[in-house]
């Protein structure tokens, strides 16, 4: 790892001020950043430790509208096991618990999870000179390489990487809002606009502006506490990134779907909302045929790479399973 300097921010104002220094990077849990630094993929010269700024960044609190604010520095394990998250947003609990290991979840923060970078092996391995995400303009080794784990939606000729976060997929289905603060003040970013598609600038993962720091994630009032389910399909039973994952949340009226939210992970550069499928389910009885048709609609526009055509069928089956589990077994697992 390169030599770095270190500064412990005492409060939020100090953190934002220090974050504007050239080559500075915020560090929370550090589980992704230090890994990237050891590999020479990220090379900040100064780390601003934000884990001691305290205040609402460490807290989980109810909002006046009935929603929930989860501070950016809340550790993944604490968020997943918080009584209000488990009771009102079991989908978020499940998504968080599907990621990483107990040790990493104890370290990783909610804000840091949102900032996770892709696990595309060509991005991670600097022996490959071509990576537009790591080195803009250098090319994309993955396009000509082994593309089994890569995108089937929203890729560009510059980048076919996928976002690795499980938590973000849950947040996408729950219509969360990311709160940030920075040199130009505070703002709120809907989760669907927080992560970017690669386009011409795959080096940019998010729409955060220079110097901005995530302070919290706001969850809207809970509508899907009773019917939500997260399915993660991976190469081993635990402690692996998703090939495909599905967050499904339903509002049921008897056997009829009142409204549906479905987000996919492991398929795009950002959590991928399956709005066509949501619309097909809403207002109709939950029958096998309807669910299968909705799943097919969700994948209709998929554009697989050479080695990942299997994700199209896999994602459809995962959607069927997630929706059925959400409808029938509140809070349960596949």
């Amino acid at each position: 790892m390169d030599a770095i300097s270190y500064e412990r921010a005492a409060d939020l104002t100090g953190a934002v001020r220090s974050g504007q220094q050239p080559g500075a990077s915020f560090i929370g849990g550090g589980t992704n950043l230090l890994d990237l630094m050891k590999g020479g993929v990220s090379r900040p010269v100064k780390l601003i430790d934000i884990t001691h700024v305290g205040g609402e960044l460490d807290a989980i609190a109810t909002l006046p509208d009935g929603g929930l604010r989860v501070g950016a520095l809340v550790r993944n394990s604490d968020a997943a096991n918080h009584a209000l998250v488990r009771e009102r947003y079991p989908l978020l609990s499940q998504a968080l618990l599907a990621g990483a290991s107990a040790q990493l979840r104890n370290m990783a923060t909610v804000g840091g999870n949102l900032m996770q970078r892709t696990r595309c092996s060509y991005f991670y391995d600097t022996a490959f000179a071509q990576c537009n995400k790591r080195q803009p303009g250098s090319g994309c080794a993955a396009r000509e390489g082994f593309s089994r784990t890569h995108a089937i939606f929203g890729a560009s000729p510059q980048c076919i990487a996928v976002n690795p976060s499980d938590m973000s997929v849950g947040l996408a289905a729950l219509d969360a809002v990311v709160r940030v603060t920075g040199p130009n003040g505070e703002r709120s970013i809907p989760i669907g606009e927080f992560h970017r598609l690669p386009g011409e600038r795959p080096d940019l993962d998010t729409t955060l502006q220079f110097g901005e720091l995530i302070t919290a994630v706001d969850l809207p009032p809970p509508l899907y506490s009773d019917h939500a389910h997260y399915v993660k399909v991976r190469d081993r039973a635990s402690y692996a990134f998703a090939l495909v994952s599905v967050a499904a949340a339903l509002q049921m009226d008897g056997h009829t779907v009142k409204s549906a939210r479905i987000a996919l992970g492991g398929v795009a550069h950002k959590p991928w909302r399956a709005q066509a499928a949501e619309q097909m389910l809403a207002g109709h009885p939950l029958t096998d045929t309807n669910v299968k048709n909705a799943a097919a609609a969700a994948l209709r526009d998929a554009q697989p790479q050479r080695d990942n055509r299997f994700k199209i069928e896999l994602a459809q089956r995962a959607i069927v399973r997630a929706v059925n589990q959400a409808a029938g077994m509140p809070g349960g697992v596949a």
């Binding site: 790892m1 390169d2 030599a3 770095i4 300097s5 270190y6 050239p22 080559g23 560090i27 849990g29 550090g30 589980t31 230090l34 890994d35 050891k38 590999g39 090379r43 900040p44 010269v45 780390l47 430790d49 884990t51 394990s77 997943a80 096991n81 488990r86 009771e87 079991p90 609990s93 499940q94 618990l97 599907a98 990483a100 290991s101 107990a102 040790q103 990493l104 104890n106 370290m107 000179a129 071509q130 080195q135 803009p136 303009g137 250098s138 090319g139 993660k232 039973a237 635990s238 402690y239 077994m329 509140p330 809070g331 349960g332 697992v333």
Partner: protein, 257 residues
């Protein structure tokens, strides 16, 4: 993982008491120059020579990231760590991980370096009772926390129940992952008692009724064992959990009556 990477080499081991470790570390730098460090330096020197040609062959013109160049070294600073109930006054560069601080500066070799990238769990320690991967965190970020390593699990010379169970159930072969497994399992039992759920729990809104083997396997999935002692590790954890539960029920109101 190369063989060199995972093995504890005799010349790398610094035998000191914690007290002398603090003194030695306070004077600066790692305690000695090991063969491993020499090999790393030699490899780095060789790479410097080879790198320009490699870049010329494979790298098209591309804009460089706008960031000041990294300095070769940053000044060491005083970092005080509480490890296994003792205070260690160390001099560390900010980039020193907690794992390297434990092994190379505090002289506590029990915590192992496996992958050094958060993928194997060999480096698991407890920070204020929470299990973490010491390889993916900076030592300087842990001032003021109570760090527990495998050396701190035994109390007054008596092995902890999990340590005894690992021996009784033959829960290791080469033993390299064992310090991490022990720290991880120690935290696991506390987490389950506190009512946490896992991804195999039937309903996250309820406390899992029992610590099933599936729950143990999932909750221990952050600790890899290349010898494949998993079945016996699960048995050891199950045994300690079972006896703790039995004791708890004996000690409860009914047991006292």
């Amino acid at each position: 993982m190369s063989q060199d990477h995972v093995r504890d080499e005799p010349d790398d081991v610094v035998v000191t008491s914690p007290a002398t470790a603090s003194t030695a570390a306070a004077t600066a730098t790692p305690p000695n120059t090991s063969r491993r460090r020499f090999l790393q330096s030699a490899a780095a020197a060789a790479t410097v020579g080879a790198a320009p040609q490699l870049r010329a062959q494979t790298q098209p013109a591309a804009p460089q990231p706008v960031s000041p160049p990294a300095p070769a070294a940053a000044p060491a600073r005083p970092v005080t760590l509480q490890i296994n109930g003792r205070e260690y006054a160390l001099q560390l560069e900010p980039r020193v991980t907690l794992l390297d601080a434990l092994r190379e500066y505090a002289g506590l070799m029990g915590t192992k370096k496996g992958c050094d990238r958060g993928q194997c769990g060999a480096c698991t320690v407890l920070a204020d009772g929470r299990r973490i991967n010491s390889c993916l965190t900076l030592a300087v970020m842990h001032e003021g926390e109570a760090i527990t390593t495998v050396e701190g699990l035994a109390q007054n010379g008596a092995l902890s129940p999990l340590q005894r169970a690992f021996i009784e159930h033959d829960a290791f072969q080469c033993g390299y992952c064992t310090p991490g497994q022990l720290c991880s399992a120690t935290a696991l039992l506390g987490e389950f008692a506190a009512g946490t759920v896992s991804t195999v729990s039937a309903d996250v809104r309820r406390h899992p009724p029992q610590l099933s083997d599936d729950e143990i396997r999932e909750r221990m999935s952050g600790n890899l064992c290349r010898c494949g002692a998993y079945a016996n590790i699960v048995a050891a954890v199950r045994a300690v959990h079972g006896s703790a539960s039995a004791n708890a029920s004996h000690a409860g109101p009914a047991g006292n009556a």
